[in-house]
Structure formats: structure tokens, C-alpha cells
Amino acid sequence: MSEQPIILIELEQTKQKALSLLAEIQDEEPLQAWRREYLGKTSVVMSAFSSIGQQPKEFRPQVGQVANQVKQALEASLEERAKIVSETALTRKITGERVDVTLPGRQPNAGGLHPQTLVLRRIFTIFAEMGFQVYRSRDVESDEYNFELLNIPAHHPARDMWDTFHIDQPGVVLRTHTSPGQIRVMREQAPHPIRVILPGMCYRYEQISARSEIQFNQVEVLAVGKNITFGDMKGTLNGFVRRLFNADVRTRLRPSYFPFTEPSAEMDVECFVCAGKGCSVCKGSGWLEILGCGIVHPTVLKNGGYDPEVYSGFAAGMGPERISMLLHKIEDIRYFWGNDARFLEQF
């Protein structure tokens, strides 16, 4: 019987040495060097396999078996160690990484909508849910539609309520309110019931100042049917105002005058700036005027093609710029059509 081959001893020694070295390894690079050293082509283990043929015959199975065991042991330990090393490396990496969270972010070029588009949409949405649809009509109107058919004859004292821009053609004006749309929509729809809102740009001859503009949006509300009352008007408009401002805002309806409605009313909401205590926004009154409204005047119904003995309706009108000014504390109405990017970008 031959002597036990030296390779078996070497394998055992190599295994001991390799494992103890491996246990010390912390980084990827020495780990790879270790792999080349102990599991590479020229390593003791791999050489052991290729030397089997040169071993005494009776030991050949044993050498193969031992070499295999050592190889498996080394590979298993390597895998385990590799996990530890990569975990350590990741931990180290994470620990070292840091951004300055206070540096500004890269903002995409954000566009935006004009504040009045936004406020009009809020108004449209609330009324849409109550069954009111949007009806638009023209800016340049006839005197007939803007005034006469709305129960405002020439030289009537009510005409003082509107300072009108006239066109160089007789009988043509820039609409002073969106009310002419009432006649247009009634004449289109009669005798069907109507629930519409009429938004649009209106014009009044005024000096432009922080408080007044020559051009302004208006939204009118019109409901016509056989069974529409002042109570319905209160309910609808209160519902609108509560949704626009907040659910428990106090409102009051007080008598007013418009030639195209009777009875007419002005709706005030409790000043939400000072909660009714009195401030500069409500001019110390605790109330903010928010819209005018009333029961459609029989003459207007008749002019629209509805029999005032059978039909009734209500109308209301509001200023979206005023609403924006209140909602966003805008103190100068000229901002709206001034289109300074520094203003527009805030919405």
C-alpha cells in the first residue's frame, strides 16, 4: 500500500488557511483575489482534481472526494462571505450618500390657467350639478336686447344703473350685462323650461381704477318654468353660495331693484374675512354683496315668448372678478387684464 498522497494534507491545510483568510475579508476586491487564489484554475483545489490521474490508484477516489468536499466548503463560505461583503458595501455606500435637501428642485415649466377661468369653472360646476347649463352670447349687442326687451326703455331712470359704451352705429352697444342672453335663450327655448347660466364679458363706461373696470365678467343665472318661486331662488342661490364659500356661511336677502326682475333682491354673505365683525373688505358692515337676483319681470317673460300668467322664473347675476377678489384677497381689479406673469402664476 502506498503512502497517503501529500495532496490530501495540502487540501486540508489549504482549506484551513483559506477559510481563516476569508473570515477577515471585508471588501469586494480582496474577495475576488481570494476566489482566484483558492478556487481559480491554478488553485490547490482545482489542481487536486487535475492531479487525480497521477495519484496512486487506491487513493484516487479519496483525493477526488476530499477535493470535492474542500471545494464545496470553500464555495459555500465564499457565497456567505460575499453576501456579508456586499451588505457591508451597501451599508457603507448608503451611509456616505447624502443630498442637500435644501437645494432647489428642478421645476418643469408649469403653465396655468387665468384666475377668472378657474373661478368661472367653479361657478359652472356648482350650477351644472343643479341642472344649469352654460349658454354664451355676443359681446356687441343691440340696444333692443341689452335694454328695451329687458324692460329698460330709453330715458328710463333705470338706465342710470349702467354707463354704456355706444357703437358708432345707431342702436348698437357693448353689452352692459349678460342679461340680453336671457332674451336670446328664452326665444330659442320657449316654451320649454330653462335652467341656464350666462357667462360673459361685459362693458361699462367707467374710469379704470383699483375698484372699477371698463370690462368685466358677469355670470347670470336664469330658471324659467311653470312652477318656480322666490323660495326656489333662495334655495338655489343659498346652495350655490354655501358651496362657493363654505357650508355654514350666513346669507341675507334684502330688497333691491332691477328693471328685469320683480321682486328683486341683493344677496349678501357674512364677511368671511372678519367673520362679520367689520373690516376694510366689508367696509365695516360685516356683509359682502355677492349677487343680485329676482323673479323674472312679466314683461321680460313676455318678450322672451313665455306667458307670464303661466310661467315664472328667477334670474341672478354675479361678478366673478369680485368673487375672486374676495376669495384671494386681490385688492386691485386691474390685475385681471394686466396679465403680469407674477400675478397669474399665483393661481
Binding site: 387665468h114 323650461p193 379704470i208 326656489d232 358692515s285
Partner: protein
């Protein structure tokens, strides 16, 4: 209109707090804009205010009615006095400098003590020595060795008037020791009068509304004094030429009077009501106007007699002739037209009817006989004249809105009485009353159902009648119906269905809007319709904002000059097509815009120095006057304008270059894609604002929807822009919106892997890129899922007059995996087609 509380109480009993009264007035249609208190305490809760309060409230502990029993000299100062004063509790020595106390100085104990307004230490009042109204607190001090801690007040110190010459001497019957506010506190309500409630521009009118709400009786003043003079019939006559202009004219006469200052209480009331006291004659006319709402006019009777050559004057009312003139009492010569109504006599015009008297017949200090006019005028003529002459007056304000002729005789009677009472003299017997055209005071029938139908609340016939009766309607109830006769004091009630609406308003006001229950609409819902035009416009706005553009809304009023700037010289818009204002507020806002492009360029210009990246859009109408058309066309447009940096440089992202044609084209491409429009193409084009080589028209199918391009460098010079080029697009929404499909179909997503490949081909420079891509897509068919141009190269390596286009292609099938053989075959097919039809060469490096 200013309503002094103390005066209002002449006509109705009021037991409401200031705030309750203001709320009641507001809820009846007389909106209280401000309450100015003179002594009376503020009311209402501290955490919720309903009305604006101004003025000074007198603390009832600190301001007392007191009596001065003796005025003694000051030992060291001639201009001061020491008053022995009793405040109802004990005696004080009070220092004053009031000149109106000097006459009593050193006269010993006064037989009749002087009643005064006494402010105790700590009282807060206005500083009489400072200009304006500045509050101060009375503190203990020493003046010339005499201790002073309280004072006797002037009107200014109490906030009654600006008077600070002396202290107020109250009536001798003022009760010593009571709070001053209880004795003479007052408040003035500033009330807004609605155009249809001009009858309430009067104290009686306001009291009538209060009476209707509170149920307290209205105390209507009437003349109680009998005439002591001769009959008026022989002393004056009236001739009305046109009853439509002048339905009634009433004259009364006071003889042998003498103008003097009105009694203090009259002056005080007029001042509180916002009018300046003049003399006892003028004050009487103003007083009665404020009381009744009927403006009166006083003529110097002797001037009229003189003008009539010593005979009986005849008043003639008529329309003015065009060009006629009159000097009004403000000493301005007025040029009149045929709409003006004149009060004349046989010698010519005397006054502008219903607006202002003439200078010549005005009452003066020497007037001894007054002819008093009360009349009624056609409100339209009065309005036309006062607006044409820019002449506003208290009379014109009332007559211009319509005063019922029935008020004339009542007011003249009251005027005569007050004038005689305050100026002496005797009232001539009777009135000259010419009343050719009494108005119809409608009889209106209204039912419980009528009211219910409009208001949504059931009010019984009895209650309806009660409300209307309190407003002085004469009512007749029969079953559910009420017949109401309009009282002869208002002109705002119509007949028939309009009269019903008028009465429903009266009922709602007095019943109170607050008491009408809030209900939800229960009526039939109208046919529901889409507003597609609006929906699509809003969608376009959303898409553009999402693409990084800011929406703007500009003035639709502009000027021809402003719009001309947006076009090359000689290529401006047709001036005939402008909608022009007859009465612009300024030349730069004198026409309606024809060009939305010009509006958006102005926004770019305005922001050029505010933002480095400009990207704006607007949607709105332009206005084109067509000669054969009464009203202009108002087509809607979309305009986009961009200029400046593509992105704002940041700390770790440096300059990314300036926005150019392709940025704008990309925005439009994305927009049209998101709108699901098919067959979009671009062709070189021309536009009077744009660079001739950098302009394209945009087609959807065969429909031209707009143009985009670089703003012409010469047009750019018309604006204050910075260096970067400006790119604009003008889209005709009338053309675009109808093309937007109501629905669109989606494409399935393939589960099979794509094959990606890049190819570069060389073509002649003048072959448009979109033609190459169209051919690639057409040839690739369904298997070519995507084509993207990623490089354009021109240069020596491919030779002059050529360009290289590099495309990234994605091959993908819905039903199988594309193998390399299949994709190669497809690629070769595409390349061969490009070679054949466009003379393209595959670039192989």
C-alpha cells in the same frame, strides 16, 4: 338720503334699537349704508356687526345735562370764567373760556339757570382746538392756577357740528341731571334709495315703510294754520301749455314776510339731513321737500309783478325752444333744447322746471312776498335736461324719477305754513291749482294663488290686504282675491299682470324676504344639452396649461394703432371692419379688437423684462364689422406666443437654448394629438405678421385651421422685446372646434416584443421631412408601430444640397413575435421605396 332719527320720530313712534331700526329699513328696501351717531350709544353685539357705525356716543355716566347758576370772573384771566354748576348731584366750579357766557359774568346768581351739556372727568369727546375730529379724554389739569377736570361742551366737542365758538345753551326746560344722550342724543341713517322707490326720498316716505312693517300708525303732517291774507286767485295765474310735460302746477303766496335765520331746531335738522341752512324762506322749501319728497320752489313775488308790468303775474309752463337760454341761480347761463321744460311768465323764462330756479326771480334778503311753486313734471324731460346740462340738484333727482302730482298741493300747504311760521307774514287764502292731467292710479286684483305661484308661500287674502292697506292701498277682499286701489302717491304700480308683479314685490318686502322659506327647485328639468364649443375650449386650455403655457385674458377694447403694430407696414387690418365706440374712455380703448394676436403680443411685451421664458395663450373672440350686417361677427380665436429661454437655467442645469419654431410646432402637435385630430399637416405659408421663410399653415385634412411662425423681425421691432425671436400661432377656433371628434378609438397594446432599429437616409435638401416620414409609415404598414426622427445632419460628409435624416423605428406585431428576417425584409422594403420615389440613399456609417 340722510334720515335723522329725531326728525323721523315726528311721523312714527319708534321703539327699536338703532341696529334693529337699520335692519328693518334695510329689509324693506331702504338699505342703511351707515349709521352716524350723535351721542346715542352704539347697539348690537360686539362680535357681529351688521352696520357701519360712525360718530361719537356720549357715555351716559360722563355726559350730563347740568345747570350753570352763576358765571364768575377768573381771578387771573380776563378771557376765562368760572361757572358755578350743578349736575343734579352736587355743585362744581367749572372753568370755561366760552365767549357766549361772558354776558353773564359777574351778574351774580342767575334768575334762570343756563342749561348746558356737561362732561365729567374721563369723558371721551372731540378736541375742540384741533382741526378735524380727534378724540381726547378729559383729564384733571390746572389752568392758571385753577384746577380743571370737567367741562361745558361746544357742538364740536360733542360731534354735533363744527361749531366751537361757544358752548351749547340748551332750552331752559332741559332736566338737570339726566344723561345728555337721553335728552338730545340722535343718529342719522344714510339710506340708499332704489330707483323705483323715489317716494321714499322723504321722511314721510321712510316712516310709511316703517309703519307698514311695524304696524305703528303713520302721522302724516298737514297744514293747520288758516290763511290770514287775501284770496290768491286775483294775485297769480297759471297757464300750462302741454299737460304731458306738466300735469299739475300749484301756487301759494305768503305776504309781508322777512327772511331770517331759521329756528335752531330747523337748522339742526337740515344740517343732519345734509343740507345747508340758508334763510327761513329757502329752508322752508328744503324742509318740506325732505319731509314730503315734493320739491318746492320759491319765487320773489315782487320781481314777477314787476316783470308783468305791475299786473297779476301769469306763470306759463312750456317746452324750451332750441337755443333758448336762462341764467340759473348758480349764475351760469344754460343753453336749452326742446326737451327742457321751462317755467316762464309773460316776460320770459324764470326757471328750469324741476331742476333749478333762475337767478332773476330768486328769493333774496330783500324779498317780502313769496310765490311758492309745487308742481309735477314729465320725468323723462327732467332727466334728459339734467344729464345734458350735467346739472344735478335735489329737485332734479326726485322729479327725474317721477313724483306723483297729488303731492303738490299737500307740500305747498305745508311750505306756506312753515314759511310763515319761520319768517312772519300772512298766507294768502287758497291755492292756484291747475291739474289738467291726473295720472291713473291703477286698481289691481291679486289672489292668494298669484302670490303663492311667485313667492312659494301661502299668504292669506286678509294678510295681503293688511300689508297693502298699511302702504295706503285701498283694499277690498273677496274670497281669495284682493282688489287694491293704488294710493295717489306713487307712480311705480302698473296695471294687469305687471301690476300684480308690482304688488307681489310690495307684499314680499313687507312680509319680509327672511320669512319666505328656502326651497329646492322642483320644477320640470329642461332638456339637457351639451355645450360642446365651451367644453372643447376648456379642454384646449387644460392641454395648453399642461404643456407649460400660461393663459391670459386681455382687454377686448383696443385701438387701431395698437393693432397696426402687430402687422408689417401697409398690411394692417381693414379699418372698415372695426367696431368703433362712439364714447371711448380713452383713445387707446376706442375699438373692439380685430386681432387676438395683437393682444397676446402686448402681454409678451409687458412680461419681456419680468420673465426669461415667455409662453402665453389666450382664447377669445375678435370683432369683425361687416357692412351689410347690423351686429358684428364675433369669431373665436386661439393665439399662442412664446419667446425667450426654453428652460430657466438652474444651479445644476445650465442654458438650454432659446425657444424656436419647433417648440411652438411641438406644442401645437401635442395639442392636436390630444384632441384626437387626424391628418394634421403643415405647409409653408405667408402671414402679414410673420417671417416669410418661417411660417406654416396648419391643415387638418383639407381644412385650414391656422398658422404658426416666427414673428417678422420688422414687426418685432414695433415692440419692446428683448433679443430672442418671438413665435406665434393663430388658430381659428370656428374652423378647429367642429373637427374635434366626439369619440375616438384606442389601439390595443401588443404583448409581443418590439424590434428596434435605426436607419439614416440621405435625401435632397428640398424634400420635406414629413413626406419622408409619411412614405416610411405607409410602407411599414401595421408592423411599423412607431417612427421617430432623431437626427438631421447636413455637412461635408454627405455633400452639398443634401440632408441626412435618421429615424428610430419600432417594429411590432399584435399577433406574433417579429423575427429578424421579417424586420430586415420590412426595412429593405422601406429603403427601396424611399430610393425609388425620393431618390434617397441609405446612409451606412
Amino acid at each position: 338720503m340722510k334720515i335723522p332719527l329725531s326728525w323721523l320720530k315726528d311721523y312714527i313712534d319708534i321703539d327699536l334699537s338703532l341696529e334693529d331700526l337699520a335692519r328693518t329699513l334695510t329689509m324693506v328696501g331702504l338699505e342703511v349704508e351707515e349709521i352716524s351717531v350723535i351721542g346715542l350709544p352704539f347697539t348690537g353685539s360686539s362680535d357681529h356687526q351688521e352696520f357701519k357705525f360712525t360718530g361719537l356716543a356720549w357715555d351716559p355716566e360722563k355726559f350730563i345735562v347740568a345747570q350753570i347758576d352763576e358765571v364768575m370772573p377768573h381771578p387771573d384771566a380776563d378771557r376765562l370764567t368760572l361757572c358755578r354748576l350743578h349736575d343734579g348731584t352736587r355743585e362744581w366750579i367749572v372753568l370755561t373760556g366760552a365767549p357766549n357766557l361772558f354776558p353773564y359774568k359777574g351778574t351774580g346768581t342767575l334768575a334762570t339757570p343756563l342749561k348746558v351739556a356737561y362732561a365729567r372727568e374721563g369723558a371721551i369727546l372731540y378736541d375742540g382746538h384741533k382741526p378735524g375730529y380727534e378724540l381726547t379724554k378729559l383729564k384733571r389739569t390746572k389752568i392758571r392756577g385753577v384746577e380743571s377736570f370737567s367741562m361745558v361742551c361746544s357742538e364740536k366737542e360733542l360731534g354735533i357740528s363744527e361749531e366751537h365758538e361757544g358752548v351749547i345753551i340748551l332750552d331752559p326746560d332741559a332736566p338737570t341731571g339726566i344723561p345728555l344722550a337721553d335728552y338730545m342724543g340722535d343718529a342719522v341713517f344714510e339710506v340708499a334709495i332704489l330707483p323705483n322707490m323715489i317716494r321714499d326720498a322723504s321722511l314721510v316716505g321712510v316712516a310709511r315703510e316703517l309703519s307698514a312693517v311695524t304696524g305703528k300708525p303713520l302721522k302724516v303732517p298737514t297744514r293747520t294754520t288758516d290763511a290770514s291774507g287775501p284770496k290768491i286767485d286775483a294775485l297769480a295765474a297759471i297757464q300750462i301749455n302741454d299737460p304731458d310735460l306738466n300735469p299739475r302746477f300749484v301756487l301759494g303766496l305768503v305776504q309781508s314776510l322777512e327772511p331770517k335765520p331759521s329756528p335752531y331746531w330747523v337748522q339742526r335738522r337740515l344740517r343732519l339731513a345734509g343740507m345747508r341752512p340758508i334763510n327761513s324762506i329757502v329752508d322752508a322749501t328744503n324742509y318740506v321737500m325732505l319731509e314730503t319728497g315734493e320739491p318746492l320752489h320759491a319765487f320773489d313775488y315782487d320781481v314777477l309783478v314787476q316783470r308783468a308790468g305791475g299786473t297779476t303775474p301769469t306763470i306759463i309752463t312750456r317746452a324750451a325752444t332750441h337755443g333758448e337760454t336762462l341764467i340759473t341761480l348758480d349764475n351760469v347761463e344754460r343753453k336749452l333744447d326742446q326737451h327742457t321744460i321751462l317755467v316762464c311768465d309773460t316776460a320770459g323764462p324764470l326757471s328750469l322746471a324741476g331742476i333749478m330756479g333762475g337767478l332773476e326771480s330768486e328769493v333774496t334778503e330783500t324779498t317780502r312776498n313769496v310765490l311758492l311753486e309745487g308742481a309735477s313734471w314729465n320725468f323723462i324731460n327732467v332727466r334728459r335736461t339734467s344729464s345734458r346740462l350735467h346739472l344735478s340738484s335735489e329737485a332734479g333727482y326726485r322729479f327725474g324719477r317721477g313724483v306723483h302730482p297729488a303731492l303738490a298741493s299737500w307740500a305747498v300747504d305745508l311750505g306756506l305754513e312753515r314759511m310763515a311760521a319761520w319768517s312772519g307774514g300772512s298766507i294768502a287764502a287758497g291755492l292756484v291749482d291747475n291739474y289738467p292731467q291726473p295720472p291713473v292710479d291703477p286698481l289691481v286684483s291679486i289672489s292668494v294663488q298669484d302670490v303663492e305661484r311667485k313667492l312659494g308661500v301661502t299668504i292669506s287674502a286678509q294678510e295681503i290686504a293688511e300689508i297693502l292697506t298699511r302702504l295706503e292701498f285701498l283694499c277690498n277682499v273677496s274670497g281669495d282675491s284682493v282688489e287694491a286701489q293704488t294710493p295717489p302717491l306713487r307712480l311705480d304700480i302698473g296695471e294687469g299682470v305687471i301690476g300684480k308683479a308690482d304688488l307681489i314685490e310690495e307684499i314680499a318686502r313687507i312680509y319680509s324676504y327672511n320669512n319666505i322659506p328656502e326651497t329646492n327647485l322642483a320644477d320640470e328639468l329642461p332638456p339637457q344639452r351639451n355645450n360642446l364649443e365651451l367644453a372643447n375650449e376648456e379642454k384646449i386650455k387644460d392641454i395648453l396649461a399642461g404643456l407649460g403655457l400660461q393663459e391670459v385674458i386681455t382687454y377686448r377694447l383696443t385701438s387701431v394703432e395698437r393693432e397696426t403694430r402687430a402687422y408689417l407696414q401697409g398690411q394692417f387690418l381693414d379699418p372698415e371692419n372695426y367696431v368703433r365706440l362712439l364714447n371711448p374712455i380713452a383713445p387707446e380703448r376706442s375699438v373692439m379688437r380685430q386681432s387676438l394676436l395683437a393682444s397676446v403680443l402686448e402681454v409678451l411685451e409687458r412680461n419681456a423684462r419680468i420673465r426669461e421664458r415667455l409662453a402665453f395663450f389666450e382664447i377669445g373672440p375678435v370683432f369683425i364689422q361687416e357692412l351689410d350686417n347690423h351686429l358684428p361677427n364675433e369669431p373665436r380665436k386661439l393665439v399662442i406666443g412664446i419667446s425667450g429661454k426654453r428652460a430657466i437655467p438652474t444651479w445644476n442645469q445650465k442654458d438650454s437654448g432659446n425657444l424656436d419654431f419647433y417648440d411652438l410646432k411641438g406644442v401645437l402637435g401635442s395639442l392636436l394629438e390630444k384632441l384626437h385630430l387626424q391628418a394634421v399637416s403643415y405647409q409653408p405659408s405667408q402671414h402679414p405678421s410673420m417671417h416669410p421663410g418661417k411660417t406654416a399653415q396648419i391643415l387638418v385634412g383639407q381644412t385650414l385651421i391656422g398658422v404658426l411662425g416666427e414673428l417678422h423681425p420688422r414687426v418685432k421691432q414695433n415692440y419692446d422685446f428683448l433679443a430672442p425671436a418671438v413665435y406665434v400661432a393663430e388658430i381659428d377656433l370656428e374652423a378647429l372646434l367642429p373637427l374635434i371628434p366626439l369619440r375616438f378609438e384606442s389601439q390595443p397594446v401588443s404583448v409581443f416584443p418590439p424590434v428596434l432599429e435605426d436607419i439614416a437616409i440621405i435625401v435632397d435638401e428640398d424634400i420635406p421631412a414629413d413626406q419622408v416620414e409619411a412614405l416610411i409609415r405607409q410602407t411599414g404598414g401595421k408592423l411599423l408601430a412607431d417612427v421617430r426622427l432623431f437626427d438631421v445632419y447636413r455637412g461635408d460628409r454627405i455633400g452639398a444640397g443634401k440632408k441626412s435624416l435618421a429615424y428610430s423605428m419600432t417594429y411590432q406585431a399584435q399577433d406574433h413575435t417579429i423575427e429578424s428576417g421579417e424586420s430586415t425584409a420590412l426595412r429593405n422594403k422601406i429603403v427601396r421605396r424611399l430610393e425609388r420615389e425620393l431618390g434617397a440613399v441609405l446612409r451606412d456609417n
